[in-house]
């Protein structure tokens, strides 16, 4: 798993590349746990190259969901592959998290 990030004044984009499993989810958790994350209005997760997400990976997003909501930071996923989207959907996360097809839509929110 490789995580790269770009930041603007109002948003932080994390590009996830590879498989988000038990070991790589630790890296993601470190990134999301940083206090400056709460300074943005939006956290955008680019899932174009995310091939697989395990329950540990989902757990990272779930554990930060409440914290981001409380700080009024939006968490937006985009470019999600079908099978990854399916995992979110089965767990019911699509009703809790904002998942949009394209980057343009993600930025527009």
């Amino acid at each position: 798993m490789k995580i790269t990030q770009q930041a603007t004044d109002t948003s932080l984009t994390l590009n996830l590349d590879g498989e988000l499993d038990a070991s790589s989810s630790v890296i993601l958790d470190t990134e999301l746990s940083k206090s400056e994350v709460l300074d943005y209005q939006k956290i955008l997760i680019d899932c174009q190259r995310l091939n697989y997400i395990s329950s540990a990976g989902l757990g990272v997003f779930i554990s930060h969901l409440q914290r981001l909501q409380d700080a009024n930071v939006k968490l937006i996923f985009y470019n999600m592959q079908e099978k990854v989207h399916n995992v979110f959907e089965i767990l019911g996360l699509d009703s809790l998290m904002t998942i949009v097809p394209t980057q343009a839509e993600a930025v527009a929110i």
Partner: protein
């Protein structure tokens, strides 16, 4: 009692008796008045009693246990000096007493003179015997067999000289000198065995030099006494066994002298011996510490203390790259600022991580600028092939304070330390590993007990199940519960994560299931007696909020089958979709209902995210319930098994019995993921409603 023991027992009385006989003879010889009364003793009696006394004393000493205890050489010499030293003083005292009496009341009485002479002779012989046998202990200290044999020959030959006078062989003139000279040479040869000196430290060596000098003095006292007496006109006693006594005195004195000289000339090298000794002892201490299972801190501390002591450093410090248990190093006679300055200078010179010896620090401008009170330094890194642990720094005030040997010692010390540290770490790791293994075993056993061993059997349906844990303990679970009124509750789920924590949550889930599925006594109608699945899920969610870690969640599906009314209701809390064969439509499809996993939302709003799905089943319908370990199983190219492939299998096998359908699914799955490791737990339940349903009212 053997003959030898009997002989030993009579030696002492016989010796005393022979001395009394000797005294008797001497007295008779000295006093003509007595001699006229009792008759003059035969000369041979004097000689024999004298020889017997000498032989007795020597034999007695010979048979005493070895006076050397361990390697306490100074103690041995001290005891030897104190005993015979007193004898020598007594001898001198008696001689002076006699002189005093002579001066006060000059007589020509020979009796008193003779008595003192006889006593002194006995004292001298006792002194010689004990000295001789002390020397034996020293000569034979860690001696090879041939030396022991040579010593025995020496004793036998010495004993032989006793017979010289006795049998009147008295090898005079030409014969005497070679025999005596030969024996003297033998004694000189034996005096070369001073191996014990090497075992003394510096202080002990000085002590030994003084003790040996004292012993020589004692011997001198006796010899001077006898030499003076020899020419005294009053001496009427026969001369003692000259040959034997001379040889013994010669050997005793020569051995003592050689010992003194060897010890004396060994004094300058004592420091080196001691250093080597100290090194060995320090190494032993280091090694012993490991066996005691001490902490890393103690091992480092021992290394530091031993190194400082052995090398004799004026200042030193030890730094660890990564502190262990809050221990990051140790300082001796040096300020932290000074050590930091030296360290940064070494880093600048790129010498921070290698072995380094500088015996002239002032020669380098960098060190000169630090204005250190030290002139020599050793840097010794602590490292193994795998990693580096830290560095040991030794400093001395004077230039050329360290040598190559010091470097070698420190190398040995540090490598021993690193070995100890790594041993300790290995030991701790293996203990930890064992503990984890043990925990997993327990957790696995607990989880195994949580999975129902018997499946419900009924006329209305068939159930077949399969469960496989990926590692020792997984997070999958399922359970059944018969409810009154021909109803069956089936719970299937998956706890995120693995191991002991997952097993713990499984147990919790099972507890929640059995607790919530109790009949509510306050229910107003039949429908409210048991919670509907959506209600169950939201209650379970509330129960789990406080005990599930933030990043953990649980997916579950609860089915309540009511075969009195031919229907079922279920709720899916984030769990895999239920695969279903509708016999009436002859179609296989998934129930795609919405539903959020448990533990994701941690407030009352969960209820909004879970739905009930009602369905009236028909005879011949098949329900396939599973966990994500099945559909997410990986194939050869990392692709997932998937819902579609599972659906395809049921489309081919729906008409078979539940057990057969399950077998087909499993063999298809095995074919798909052939050769791939099982990453996640796999659970599969196949429920088939029987084609011919019994009459519900019968």
């Amino acid at each position: 009692m053997s003959l030898r023991q009997k002989l030993q027992a009579v030696i002492l009385p016989l010796t005393i008796l022979s001395w009394l006989v000797l005294l008797y003879c001497t007295l008779l010889t000295a006093s003509p008045e007595l001699a006229t009364q009792l008759g003059r003793p035969a000369p041979w009696l004097t000689l024999v009693s004298q020889a017997l006394f000498a032989a007795g004393v020597f034999l007695y000493q010979r048979n005493r246990p070895d006076p050397l205890r361990g390697t306490d050489f100074t103690g041995l010499l001290r005891r030897l000096l104190l005993g015979p030293g007193i004898l020598a003083s007594v001898c001198v005292g008696l001689h002076l007493l006699e002189r005093f009496i002579q001066a006060e009341a000059p007589t020509n009485d020979r009796v008193f003179f003779a008595v003192i002479y006889t006593i002194n002779l006995a004292l001298f012989i006792v002194f010689l015997a004990s000295t001789n046998y002390t020397w034996r202990s020293l000569v034979l200290f860690r001696a090879p067999t041939h030396l022991r044999r040579e010593w025995l020959w020496f004793e036998l030959l010495l004993g032989g000289t006793l017979l010289f006078r006795l049998l009147n062989w008295a090898p005079t003139g030409l014969l005497a000198y070679p025999v005596m000279g030969g024996l003297a040479l033998f004694g000189i040869y034996l005096s070369g065995n001073q191996k014990w000196v090497a075992y003394l430290n510096r202080r002990q060596k000085w002590e030994v030099v003084l003790l040996q000098a004292g012993l020589l003095l004692c011997m001198g006292v006796f010899v001077v006494y006898f030499l003076r007496i020899e020419h005294d006109p009053k001496l009427v006693a026969p001369a003692p066994q000259h040959a034997f006594l001379m040889l013994t005195v010669f050997f005793a004195a020569f051995y003592s002298l050689v010992g003194l000289l060897v010890t004396f000339f060994n004094l300058p090298t004592a420091g080196v011996f001691e250093q080597k000794r100290e090194e060995i002892l320090s190494l032993q201490r280091l090694t012993q510490l490991i066996q005691k299972g001490q902490t890393e801190k103690e091992i480092y501390s021992t290394l530091f203390d031993s190194a400082v002591q052995t090398v004799g450093a004026d200042a030193a410090w030890l730094t660890l790259d990564t502190p262990t248990d809050g221990y990051s190093g140790k300082y001796f006679n040096i300020e932290q600022e000074q050590s930091a300055a030296i360290h940064s200078l070494l880093t600048d010179y790129n010498l921070g991580h290698i072995e380094y010896l500088n015996n002239d620090l002032d020669n380098s401008s960098g060190f000169r600028s630090l204005k250190l009170p030290f002139s020599s330094m050793i840097v010794m890194p602590l490292r193994s092939t795998k990693r580096r642990y830290g560095s040991l720094y030794m400093l001395k005030d004077q230039r050329h304070g360290f040598d190559r040997e010091n470097l070698g010692i420190l190398q040995t010390f540090t490598s021993q330390t690193v070995l100890s540290i790594e041993n300790l770490q290995l030991l701790q790791a293996s203990i930890e590993n064992e503990r984890v293994q043990e925990e997993l075993k327990i957790a696995s056993a607990v989880q195994d007990s949580l999975i129902p061993k018997t499946l419900p059997t009924d006329n209305w349906f068939e159930i077949s199940s399969f469960a496989l844990a990926a590692k020792e303990v997984g997070g999958d679970f399922y359970d059944f519960l018969h409810l009154p009124g021909r109803r069956l509750a089936i719970l299937v789920g998956d706890v995120s994560g693995k191991g002991v924590t997952a097993a713990f949550h499984v147990a919790q889930m099972k507890g929640i299931f059995h607790a919530l599925m109790q009949e509510n006594p306050l229910a107003r109608n039949d429908r409210e007696k048991f919670p509907v699945p959506s209600r169950f899920m939201s209650q379970a969610n509330t129960a789990l909020i406080h005990c599930l870690e933030k990043s953990s969640f649980i997916t579950a599906s609860l089915y309540i089958i009511d075969y009195e009314h031919g229907g079922f209701v279920f709720a899916r809390a984030g769990h895999c979709h239920t695969l279903y064969y509708h016999s009436i439509k002859e179609e296989v499809s998934y129930f795609r209902t919405a539903g959020l996993g448990l533990g994701i939302i941690r407030n009352d709003s969960y209820e909004k995210h879970i739905k009930n799905q009602f369905y009236d089943y028909n005879p011949g319908d098949v329900m396939v319930v599973y966990t994500d370990g099945i559909v997410e199983a990986r194939g050869e190219n990392k692709e997932e098994y998937g819902e579609e492939r599972l659906q395809r299998v049921l489309e081919r096998t729906y008409y078979l019995e539940a057990e057969e359908i399950k077998q087909h699914i499993l063999s298809d799955l095995a074919e798909f993921s052939y050769g791939q490791p099982v990453h996640d737990d796999q659970t599969l339940l196949v429920i088939k409603f029987k084609a011919v349903q019994p009459d519900p009212h019968s």
